[in-house]
Symmetry: C2
Subunit: 192 residues, 2 copies
DNA sequence: GTCTATAGCGCGATAGAC
DNA sequence: GTCTATCGCGCTATAGAC
């Protein structure tokens, strides 16, 4: 059953391509060939490339943050929530057995070559992640599961930095297990 | 006094451009215009783009690792060495008052759109950094300055991940002070 | 909503003069 | 070692038929 509409197919394929090769190495032709229509057909749905990328980031951000909110709202312990957060990026974003970067990380790296309005959207995606991470960290602090000095906000930024850097490094080195090892170690550090 | 030869000028300009906009948004024309020669003049020194990028990464890797070796060989404490390591990426690589990414980070993000041989060179740059970080961490462990559970190798990868992720995030958010805050917090965590 | 066809440009790269 | 000139291609994007 293939009831997915073309607009969604375009977004799916574009996201996959960007996560693999980057924004500037992905073309309308790549997209059109992958879904079996022509160049002009893609332009019908997304007249400009910056518009396509903007729509893509919005969908991605909504999806990830919504999954994150589900994790936060669950009755699990803070430590489990944090692990599920890390697993989200490991499986959903490094999914499909091939090495994919985080869309947010890739757009961040290439952000200076994109529409200026996109920079703020990418930054907001980062901030939204950090805000949710801070909630989990505070919860763990209060329950005694996490023990660390200083404010949870800075720690949340540190955790998100490690997550993003860990994905980058694991992908380049071709060792998918490294990401897990890095964040497992980080959890242990947070537990004190 | 301008005694810098053209080959060096090309490498300097290309590196600056890649650190800002990425490999795939940088062109021979950008380079030639920046140094005041023509497209063909750049091709004389670097016939292919992959060759140029390879030469660039080699120079960059040699420079960074040599500075790192100097830091390690210095009589400073392990904590000071680690701070100097972080400052190296903060000042030398985010230099020139504008937001630049780490060349290694940028090539890592865009690595799937580059010559396959470059992937291994980028990975080796990461590993070389991690190896040196591990030396500093072990030194700090032995002197009692650092206290952490588990092997220094995994911790070195965690530290390098945080450094790379921190540079990415700070750059996108336009807040250069964030990088420093993240790594300052990491140092405090390592001190236990 | 997708097609054919094409405009217009920037790209990496090369030949050959100087 | 840098130049002019150019090739051939891929790109984003658009016009107009179906």
């Amino acid at each position: 059953m293939n009831t997915v509409d073309t607009r969604t197919k375009i977004l799916d394929v574009a996201q996959d391509l960007i996560q693999r090769v980057g924004v500037n190495a992905m073309s309308y032709r790549d997209i059109s060939e992958a879904i079996g229509i022509r160049n002009a057909g893609v332009h019908y749905h997304f007249p400009t490339k910056d518009g396509l990328i903007t729509a893509l980031l919005e969908r991605y951000s909504d999806d990830v943050l919504s999954l994150l909110d589900q994790i936060i709202a669950s009755p699990e312990s803070a430590e489990t929530k944090l692990r599920r957060y890390f697993a989200l990026f490991e499986t959903t974003l490094l999914s499909g057995n091939q090495d994919k970067a985080c869309l947010g990380g890739m757009l961040g790296a290439e952000n200076e070559s994109l529409d200026a309005a996109l920079t703020e959207k990418v930054a907001n995606f980062y901030r939204a992640n950090e805000r949710r991470l801070a909630v989990i960290l505070v919860e763990g602090q209060q329950s005694g599961a996490f023990k660390f000095a200083g404010d949870a906000e800075t720690m949340a930024v540190l955790v998100f930095s490690t997550l993003q850097g860990g994905m980058l490094l694991s992908r380049v080195k071709g060792d998918g297990t490294e990401y897990r090892a890095i964040l497992e170690r980080l959890v242990r550090m947070l537990k004190g």
